[in-house]
Symmetry: D4
Subunit: 227 residues, 8 copies
Amino acid sequence: MSQEPSVDDLGFARLDLDRVRRTGDPEVVLASHKTTEQTLTALARLSAAHPDRAVLATRCDAATRAAARDLPGARVDDVGATVALGPVPASRGRVAVVAAGTSDLPVAQEAVSTLQAHGTGADLVLDVGVAGLHRLLAERDRIAGADAVIAIAGMDGAMPGVVAGLVSIPVVAVPTSVGYGASFGGIAALLTMLNACAPGVTVVNIDNGFGAAVAAVRMLRVARRPA
Amino acid sequence: MSQEPSVDDLGFARLDLDRVRRTGDPEVVLASHKTTEQTLTALARLSAAHPDRAVLATRCDAATRAAARDLPGARVDDVGATVALGPVPASRGRVAVVAAGTSDLPVAQEAVSTLQAHGTGADLVLDVGVAGLHRLLAERDRIAGADAVIAIAGMDGAMPGVVAGLVSIPVVAVPTSVGYGASFGGIAALLTMLNACAPGVTVVNIDNGFGAAVAAVRMLRVARRPA
Amino acid sequence: MSQEPSVDDLGFARLDLDRVRRTGDPEVVLASHKTTEQTLTALARLSAAHPDRAVLATRCDAATRAAARDLPGARVDDVGATVALGPVPASRGRVAVVAAGTSDLPVAQEAVSTLQAHGTGADLVLDVGVAGLHRLLAERDRIAGADAVIAIAGMDGAMPGVVAGLVSIPVVAVPTSVGYGASFGGIAALLTMLNACAPGVTVVNIDNGFGAAVAAVRMLRVARRPA
Amino acid sequence: MSQEPSVDDLGFARLDLDRVRRTGDPEVVLASHKTTEQTLTALARLSAAHPDRAVLATRCDAATRAAARDLPGARVDDVGATVALGPVPASRGRVAVVAAGTSDLPVAQEAVSTLQAHGTGADLVLDVGVAGLHRLLAERDRIAGADAVIAIAGMDGAMPGVVAGLVSIPVVAVPTSVGYGASFGGIAALLTMLNACAPGVTVVNIDNGFGAAVAAVRMLRVARRPA
Amino acid sequence: MSQEPSVDDLGFARLDLDRVRRTGDPEVVLASHKTTEQTLTALARLSAAHPDRAVLATRCDAATRAAARDLPGARVDDVGATVALGPVPASRGRVAVVAAGTSDLPVAQEAVSTLQAHGTGADLVLDVGVAGLHRLLAERDRIAGADAVIAIAGMDGAMPGVVAGLVSIPVVAVPTSVGYGASFGGIAALLTMLNACAPGVTVVNIDNGFGAAVAAVRMLRVARRPA
Amino acid sequence: MSQEPSVDDLGFARLDLDRVRRTGDPEVVLASHKTTEQTLTALARLSAAHPDRAVLATRCDAATRAAARDLPGARVDDVGATVALGPVPASRGRVAVVAAGTSDLPVAQEAVSTLQAHGTGADLVLDVGVAGLHRLLAERDRIAGADAVIAIAGMDGAMPGVVAGLVSIPVVAVPTSVGYGASFGGIAALLTMLNACAPGVTVVNIDNGFGAAVAAVRMLRVARRPA
Amino acid sequence: MSQEPSVDDLGFARLDLDRVRRTGDPEVVLASHKTTEQTLTALARLSAAHPDRAVLATRCDAATRAAARDLPGARVDDVGATVALGPVPASRGRVAVVAAGTSDLPVAQEAVSTLQAHGTGADLVLDVGVAGLHRLLAERDRIAGADAVIAIAGMDGAMPGVVAGLVSIPVVAVPTSVGYGASFGGIAALLTMLNACAPGVTVVNIDNGFGAAVAAVRMLRVARRPA
Amino acid sequence: MSQEPSVDDLGFARLDLDRVRRTGDPEVVLASHKTTEQTLTALARLSAAHPDRAVLATRCDAATRAAARDLPGARVDDVGATVALGPVPASRGRVAVVAAGTSDLPVAQEAVSTLQAHGTGADLVLDVGVAGLHRLLAERDRIAGADAVIAIAGMDGAMPGVVAGLVSIPVVAVPTSVGYGASFGGIAALLTMLNACAPGVTVVNIDNGFGAAVAAVRMLRVARRPA
């Protein structure tokens, strides 16, 4: 496949420097099982290898985010728990990031920060769950006019399916672990989304705002290809 | 508790003739694990013990339903798979039986027949799933004007929660086994309903149109009590 | 649907001020994923929008409950973890709130406080599990005379089904997470209730005393409608 | 352990002829994955090795039961699906076999036939589920006077726990696969029994009337030991 | 939302004729719980309402497919179990439909027929599972050059994640029920895909080739919007 | 049932003082969801009502055990987490309490203390898991000579089934939550025991040493009945 | 990786002719989702490509096995449901294939036929479950003297862990779907094996005798490498 | 079986001193449910009984590892959480320990330390997940040249199956609990590995690097047997 695949071996990790060539996006650091030092070292090395782009670390805890503030040019998102390094790309396209409830905000914000780091516009629409349908219907045209929608919900996870019946754009559904009892940490919402009556819904892992954003970025990339 | 509890011992079953006194409703025959002869014998004995009311058997297979047609006064519902015996009660109140899809009809019809056998009016509203929200919204006032709503859905099971956000009456949600893959025979719909964002939804077992109807009958009974 | 739907946009939430018109009850604040400030701000705004009614926040942690005590007219329930604001409504009707064990008290109390905030009478009956059946039978008439019963149990969750065989009123069953091992955080009790042999039982989410109370409120509302 | 362990090697099976010495009971043939020929051959060989006792095959399908009728002295139970060979032992003790519903009869009958083949008295009490509590309470003294009780129930599985609160003898609970939807083939009943509030309940596999009977036989054996 | 929402009420179903306006695609008939007559009636009515487009029925059994052959202009796909009516749209764009094994072909073909009925080009790539990686790598450029990829796999479900690491286009993963034992009817593959290490993978329900195709159609629609 | 059932209403609990008459054993306090004060108050009241017997509280945390030491005559078991009050009964019979590993000791000790409080002899046999079969075989005669065996194991839960093939007495199996990964908090061991190849095994809830002991007490009680 | 990877494209499948070079073993045809024609065509083509070795198809139904008998040189195993083509390899090494019960024979035979087709000796030991431990202990030396053991069990799945504590060779455990109720189609046995107390046990999928055999073949291959 | 089985009874444990004779390896102390004193006492006694070999404790917490540093000759692995005592054996053979991600390192290191304590060479290959396939392909020959491979992965768990398609040696797969949401603590990875398309993969419990190492040790032992 690759003639000279490029790997940066840090001892504790092998950074995949070839990824941007294959997939269009550089590798992203998942901080959740790493030390602050491992995360920031990997992020800095990725930034050095991609000087013209932003690089990203997700699921950064408070200590990592605090340490990241000392890095020149770091953009820290405390709600979405991300750290970005490198030049802010010009934003193209618009992805509606729609969350059913206030409690889904951290997942929504992870999606927003990921979209921005990948040079994609994000339009955050909060608290439009189906218990008060008019709140969602009032935002229908705003959502329908975007290039794609990331629809985020916990508990019953019903909102993304309702959205998919109202718009013609791709709907990436993100179940969240918000809820209690028989929500089973997001399983209920995940199943609801996989069984959505309206076609056109695709689903990512529970609380995976990052993955939804990268999927949307890929969708918009196709739109920008020369015919 | 009961001074002289009445039991009719058929050998293979002990009919609870005291139940109507305690709970307001006579015992119902669940035919699914019984022979045709057992089902119809039990039904006839219950009818003899309650000559002034209809009695009911549910989940009757085709053979049992065919045999039941020979019983004088039997009312056979082939879609809902029920058989009723005894005088048709005058119907009071109105319960909206709302089904998300065509495939949910057998469960809806079991609820309708159960309501009728208990002297309660049933108003069937079919195919109003959330993928085409306007179909549901067009029926909103009809549903909201009922005394209670039985909301039936398979697949994502999202409709009952949406209904609960639109009306002020009690919503009894019935998950159905309609679906495939990750619907897991109705588990997905069941979990959605248990986690409905709109309060006021209560849930019964998968495909249990009968149980939902009895619950609604109890709700309307309270409304008829002398103050 | 709604001509001029009313929404109060707090930035972090969009309060559904139209809900009382549609469903009869104002929106309730679920505090479990919110900050104290978010919870109390939302509660105050809801109270301002519904000056003639009580409004409620559920699942309030100790810090939120402590802060709420400074609000004029706040009623704080430390066992049920609720905070209510606004005038105490006159109480109509009576709902029996029946708990199988002492450990189910917090869920029972959440139901009681919710009923009271909605202007519905609550009658708490504690520790009547089926291991000592005579304790339950001794309270049978008291329960049967209510307008509805909320039956709460953890572990085997058997009590609500037994109650449903003894009374003619609606039974809303609440499984609780009380138990260990194969109780699986309330799944065992939930399944028991969904499979109750006695018809007329409907079920809400694990530990959802609030939802059971709102369902009961809806049931009693129907009873008060003019014929 | 065993000086000269005795095994009868049939090629497709190794009969454990030493078992009666170790455990007090001869090996039993589980027919469910065996051919009619394998089952009856094994049964005949076991009978030859234990000429003074009855030997048993369980879960025999219709073909095997039909073929067994040709064996001299065979006792075929079509409801319980068992075949026994060898002299009927004198019956000692009494085990109450209590079933919640008519549909639980095959499991109950498997228990009855197993008890009889092991020389233990069986007293079958049918259709005493908790939806009509008075049916169970009416039989309380009959059950309490036995040496042990095998309590069998599907659906919500609540009856064995109620029984355990009413008697002082050991309660062996058998969940059955009777039910639908969220009964999950007996899982709901199994969990209910494992979480029974009343202590003294022990549980066997779903539909395992045989195992419950052997456990009861062991309990009564201890009672007969010389002091 | 809709000024004059159009519904065609067939008695057993309410066709959502407004859907094409809202979502860009007409309603599709899911035949799996319908009679042949219901399916073909609904399909014919949808075709009449959308004379300039193809309309589709999925999960058609053999009898329905046989009857459909009598309809003028019907296109029957026996492998994918679909029936289409109406003019063949000109095909735009190209979606790679990649299946890990021969056994995944029916799901792949359902996706292909759905794409074609929606005017989208489909390029089927079969039997490129990860056990023989060179088979997949040999097709890498063909897949990477498409506008989107539908990646279909049963058993371990590993292929879509590997593909996502090799291309820059959106990857819609479809788990199939192919497998045995701990594949649990597609759950294993579903979980693998939801946890794919490579970002950009989104997932649909088990065996849902149809839904994956509609999602891809939506993605390509965005690309065709005027800037 | 009971002429004058005796209940001691503590406000937070209703003690079942009639239980000893019905079941042979007084009520036991499950401390796990109670305050220290609630637990010790209930225990003292039970002791007052049964002055000639020991009464028991289980699952007492460290604080409750510390406070209990101030009660005259309290016997505190720190390993088994129990507190007993009242005269030590003379011990009759012998139950072998057999644990597979060192980590199962707390559960085993809960069983031992429960047996002793009920006047039953306990013989503790530790660390005889099946990985070193000779350790178990060496104790075979000691176990086989008891009146019943409580067999306790976590991880694979295989030991009780092996024991049941070696002895003729009843085997009560207790799965424990000892293990990690796919032991799923004791589910693996629970399933193993429910599926034990050797008949005669009955099972209680995960970590339920108390329930196993009460079941054994009931078994021995039958043995002591006058013929 | 491979310079000129060899693939045989059959249209419905791409045979991986390079596999023997990479992994030492040719591709095997899994017949379970294929037509008879597809299976036998693929098998014949694999045989043509590897004229000096046996090639194998597994999970062949009766029709495929019948058709295979017409192929010159085919070896059909009706119990194990396999078909082999090509020269019988000289057998080296010895793998003990040990099954707990008679019902596990088909899985054991699949393992035996797979071993033989790969040139490895198989020694079948049947019906040595742990309920009669002496049957297993009697074969201990025969098993311990093999190069590896494939240990097969359904129901409680306890035997492989016991074997691992008795021998020093690798133990590959195969759970089977033999059982009922809470065996959950082999899940109980699978979990038991994953949690085996004795180290050295590795596990394959439920009923996967083939996979266990290939794993054993790989283990013996290492032993034959020149030092 | 054993003439004079040797057991060292510590009161809280019975050390199986005969194990090395039966299985080739001494007993290992699983520290996770033991006190520091219990762990180190058992380890010291095992070391005294096997003076010519290393003995091992796994899953040692920080306190136990700290205390172990005071033992003469102790080798403490803080990453793998093991403590070894006794002479370092000469290393023979080579097992490739391959981990998909940085976060899998603790499990990988547990495997490495276990291999070393058993006298087997370990070659650690880190961060070669399938998202960047070239990183794995670059190490293909290094892995293929080993005697066996332990392949460790969390999240989607796809890497071991890909490895098995590239090498001819045995592949022992270890799922890890690394991941979130629908990884379900390692269940997703476990299922992926059990369903691996490439044959020759066997699986151990989640996070069980120790068990995988012992299995590999057994495989290499066979290779060293005299022919």
